[in-house]
């Protein structure tokens, strides 16, 4: 009754080999996934804060260039780091003026126009300071800004520091 066996199953050896290979793959996979995950987080974080830094600086720069030098006031919101707020009157394209203020509150940067409530510009702000290199020259303002973003629990932080000197035109 029993037909000559043509063996279609696995041998014990084959099975052990498969289990061994799978074992290696399974044990290596999480490490690889973690690596890829960290890499992606780092890249995303870097890209984000670089975008923040560039965007923020060029934003402030553009506004400040059109400011009236005599209107500039540098101080800070109560309880916040020193000289983390700048307030100035700038010309709009239609010739009218508006009062613009950039300030740090916590680790966020806000912008307010004409003393209205501030709108958030960006997160992850570690440091911002507006300085006059020489207080007797009202036309040169230096902006220094650092963004910092933690990538995941307890690991490296992405950092981006940028400095720009702005020449006030009016």
């Amino acid at each position: 009754m029993v037909t000559p066996r043509s063996r279609k199953g696995y041998s014990l050896m084959e099975l052990m080999l498969v289990v061994a290979i799978l074992g290696v793959i399974v044990s290596a996979a999480p490490r690889m996934f973690t690596g890829i995950y960290r890499f992606t987080r780092m890249i995303t974080a870097k890209a984000e804060i670089q975008k923040n830094a560039r965007g923020t600086l060029s934003n402030i720069n553009r506004g400040l260039r059109q400011a009236q030098a005599s209107s500039i006031l540098v101080d800070q919101v109560s309880g916040q780091p020193p000289h983390s707020r700048i307030t100035f009157t700038r010309y709009k394209t239609d010739g009218s003026t508006e009062v613009v203020s950039y300030y740090q509150s916590g680790k966020k940067l806000y912008m307010s126009t004409n003393l209205a409530a501030g709108k958030k510009v960006c997160d992850d702000l570690r440091y911002i300071a507006f300085t006059y290199p020489k207080s007797d020259d009202s036309y040169i303002v230096s902006i220094s800004v650092t963004f910092e973003k933690a990538t995941y629990e307890g690991a490296a932080k992405a950092l981006q520091m940028a400095v720009e000197k702005v020449r006030v035109m009016n």
Binding site: M1, T3, R5, S6, K8, G9, Y10, E14, L17, V18, I21, I25, I36, F39, T40, I43, A47, Q50, A53, R54, S70, S71, I72, L73, V74, D75, Q76, G79, Q80, P81, P82, H83, G106, K107, K108, R126, Y127, A129, F130, T131, Y132, P133, K134, S135, D136, D137, S138, S142, S144, V145, T146, E148, L159, Q160, M161, A162, V163, E164, K165, R167
Partner: protein, 833 residues
Amino acid sequence: MARIFEKNRKGVTLVELMAATVIISVGVLGMVGAFRYINFGIQAPKGRSLANNLAQEKIEVLKNKSYFRVMVTTATDLDHNFDPDAYEYDTYPNGSEALNVGGINFTRRVWIRKVSENSDGELTLLNWNLPDTGLKEIIVYVSWFEGGSWKKVELRNLRGNPDRTNLNAMFTGTVLEAGTGTPPIQGAIVRAQENPARYDTTDASGAYGFAIEAGSYTLQASRQGFFSSVSPLYIVSATQNHAFTLTRMSSGTITGTAWLRDHLVISQVVGSSMTSSGQEHEWVEVYNPTTWTWTMATGLGAGANDEVVISYTESGEAEDKPDFDYRTVSLAPGSYYLFANTGTVTAAGVTRTADAVYDMDSDFGNLDNMIQTGGPSSGGHVLLGIESLGQILDIVGWNATDNGISSKRTAQRYEGQAIVQSIGFELGEEYTRKTTSSGVSPGYGRCYDSNNNENDIVDAKPITNPPHNSADSEVCDSGTPAAGAPVFASDGLSSSTQAAASGAFTLSGVATGYWTLYVSSGMSVSTGGVYGGASSGFAADAGSVVLSTDNVFGFITGVVTGITGAGIPDIKVAAGSRQASTGSNGRYLLPADPGEQTVWANYHTDNTSYIETSSMGVTVELGRITENVDFVLQPGGKLRGWITTNGTDPLPNVPVSAFESSVEQGNGITDANGYFLIWGTGISTGTYDVVPQLEDGESSSPSTHTVALVAGDTAFVGTFTVTGAMGSIRGSVTAGGVNINTGVLIYATTTTLTGSPIMPPTMDPTTRAGSVKYYAVSSNAQGAYDLPVRGGSAYNIYAWYTTWDSNEAATISVRQSTAAVAAGQIVTENFSW
């Protein structure tokens, strides 16, 4: 049960599984690879836009400075990271800056040059030591390394002097040839001697015209082949016309032949002398046409003494290298050396002892037959070389076109063309090198070597030209023709020519007078003798000119004249590390390293009665001559002075300008001791206003010193007391011993800040207009800061460092210090948390 096993298996085999794994791995690896490119994609535009910002910032900074504070580059270097397109940049006085922005290391450099704008609006670049033209070109380079290669951003801008003196005066006129018909001279340069930056070149009608600042000027017109002419002193405020007539120099012709004599030659080969006693003497005679003694062997006798050796190769056979028993170790210039198969050879009635005996079978006593002779015999060649260097000095080869053995007819090696023979090298036959191209003249050295055996060697049978040895000395009348060698004279009128294939040359258009003749090849040079003639149309014969001195240079020639047009002797001319002095007629010949060179006349103001001047971008080629690099030297001197902050302390790094008629003629920078020295092309004799170039907020007492400069003098202009100059406070900021890379706010002020916690004052217009000054800066990403402050005060320094907790509540911590800062001083203050 059995049916189960009969079922077709639907699972996967191990092979399939592995194949699937491989395919999946390829996909996964591809994705990982893609991350790399995504990262590049993010980084690349970032690097470029950051570099652009940095370059723009530098341009802004430079344009914010006062015109004379934008200091022109005086020393440059090349950035070879960009080879072959290396760019040139300033190493002094501006230097390079290393900047780290966004994790990329940038190098920011500048190159600032004086430019002049001509009437067509075209810009010409000028050397830094020429007087100011009121216009400077600024180039800013930012370079960085990214993605495996160097990248660069370059921005250019022009900076004009807002107080520029207008070129409201004008010189016009013509330059004509003296004599009948007065044809116009094209290409003559008319230059204002007092301001060499102002000049024009005549057009086809001989006309020139250029604008200049109002003032007093002498013009000089010069053109190669003519005597220069100088105008009287003109005081111009509008247009001044002056017509020049230049006298053409008379000329003649120098002819000669140029020879190279740089190696030993085989001067005679005899394969069998067939003496009366039936002995077959054979020898190879060598002649030394060079000017130096050759070492033929390292010692006397047989053994390992070989230095200069001979060998013989029969056509179709391997080279025969004999052993040598040296009897003479050296070969003097103009002498012979005899290699023979026996101690004494006899031919043509002459007996000579051998200088070296060669042997093929370890028995120097028998007469070895190394060189195959007979009628017929094989073709072959004799080779002369230096054993230790493997260098071949000379080859003589001969064919035997009709010797009956087709495989032994052609010499394996020869020069140009082997000696044409029908039945080969015969008994009693000689191959003797010619003394000149026309044949063998007894009494002259056998040295004619045009690198063609058939043309250079005569064959004779029986032997009529006797053998020579080291006791024989004869004068060489030829050598190797120096085909293509440049030939030039120091007259300044003739242009260079090249020797023909025969070595002959004809240098025409040589000015009357007696001149040094130069003949050069890529390898060697002759500074020749003095040739020429006194009358127009002279013909001088330089005879044989031998190139024997090794040459690694190209040559620059020209003339250095004073403003009267007369040559100035003993003026030092330099290019790179090479220097030469002008002769009595002001002419110079400067050997220079091949490449692009800047040539300096009166190098380092060696003769203090004149100013230093230079010519940029002179191209020098090995063994070639670059002509007409001419200079006009102004009588000149130097201006020296001192800048102090209080009468005692020096103030370094302040640029000082010297003005004449409101035009900046030169500038210097104070050294560490506060002294400055101004010299250069613009600092001629005359009256100068010397002015320190001050920063915003600085003042000088007096603001100007006026001094009259006499030729050759170093005039001390006086002392400037500058107040309000800047000093600097710098240092590091650390937290727990680690540099803070997130930013610390630093303030320096002469007042004391109060409050709890201490905070900087609100920077409103009132504060800024107040008498108390505040200086502020943020530390950089490397944890360092540099705060320029006005010198001469004691400052309170404050530093604020903010940290954040998880609820985004700020902890602001302040550190405080004090420091006294003098003008020009750098004070270090570090802060730690």
